[in-house]
């Protein structure tokens, strides 16, 4: 049981990060904290995919001359997918930050409670 847990630490960590990110996005009142939690959640998913790619005894999926067995290299597909996911995360963060700057310049605050007050006026 212990060794099963130790072998799966990646997945446990990914699950914990996912839940932390989700909690932050839904429960935190400050908009910047929501954005940070969003990044944490995306990192959790990226870690999950990368952990899927691992093979015992495999090395980085860069071709080394002379070594041609498939099992010598880990699965490169999830890594390629996660590059795309990282880029998507960066773009989403960029758009979110632009929105937050606009909100901050107009209302002067990023706390949700104060924001709602100022929006009613």
């Amino acid at each position: 049981m212990g060794s099963e847990f130790l072998g799966m630490v990646n997945y446990w960590l990914s699950a914990i990060l996912l839940l932390l990110g989700l909690h932050g996005m839904l429960m935190r009142r400050n908009l910047i904290k929501k954005l940070m939690a969003m990044n944490v959640m995306q990192v959790a998913v990226i870690m999950f995919f990368i952990s899927l790619a691992m093979k015992t005894g495999g090395t980085a999926p860069i071709e080394q001359p002379g070594i041609t067995e498939v099992d010598a290299y880990i699965n490169p597909l999830p890594h390629a997918l996660m590059l795309t996911a990282i880029v998507v995360g960066v773009s989403t963060t960029g758009v979110a930050l632009a929105l937050l700057i606009r909100i901050y310049r107009y209302y002067g605050t990023l706390e949700e409670s104060e924001l709602l007050e100022r929006m009613q006026e």
Binding site: I62, E63, L83, V87, V90, G94, A98, Y106
Partner: protein, 149 residues
């Protein structure tokens, strides 16, 4: 980010690494096939160079890449990617099928050159976009704000 730090030490200190960072960025882009790297990573490093200059010298020294030029760079970068794809359409293959490109090389090398082409396009696009994001986020309040309907 808008006003320069005004320190000659910082200015001199950033002059030293910048050429090496650019060289490293180009290395990362071109060696994406043989080592960790590729278009996005190299583009991010190149954008880091430009952002470093902006942070040290302030907004008035965009180092040749002001907002319009950054937008043009981004569009042309992604356009290079799409253009190589359309080129493969012209030569009869499916979209982004590099093996039909008329280069006098072994088929694996032809695919390698095609991938290198699109990676360069991606690097340019990513550089332009990251610099644009940085400029948009640190622009002063005098920028136009469309609060109307």
């Amino acid at each position: 980010m808008r006003t320069p730090f005004g320190s000659s030490i910082l200015d001199a200190a950033c002059r030293l690494p910048v050429p090496f960072i650019i060289l490293f960025a180009v290395y990362v882009v071109i060696h994406g096939h043989h080592s960790p790297g590729g278009g996005f990573q190299g583009g991010a490093i190149l954008a880091a160079t430009l952002i470093l200059i902006r942070m040290v010298r302030g907004e008035d020294d965009p180092w040749g890449l002001d907002r319009t030029r950054a937008a043009i760079l981004a569009s042309c970068g992604v356009g290079l990617y799409a253009g190589i794809g359309l080129l493969t359409l012209v030569f009869g293959g499916n979209y982004l099928d590099y093996s039909v490109l008329p280069l006098p090389l072994v088929p694996e090398k032809v695919r390698f050159m095609g991938t290198l082409g699109i990676e360069i396009g991606v690097a340019l696009g990513v550089t332009g976009v990251l610099v644009l994001i940085f400029d948009a986020l640190t622009a002063g309040e005098t920028q136009e704000s469309d609060d109307g309907k």
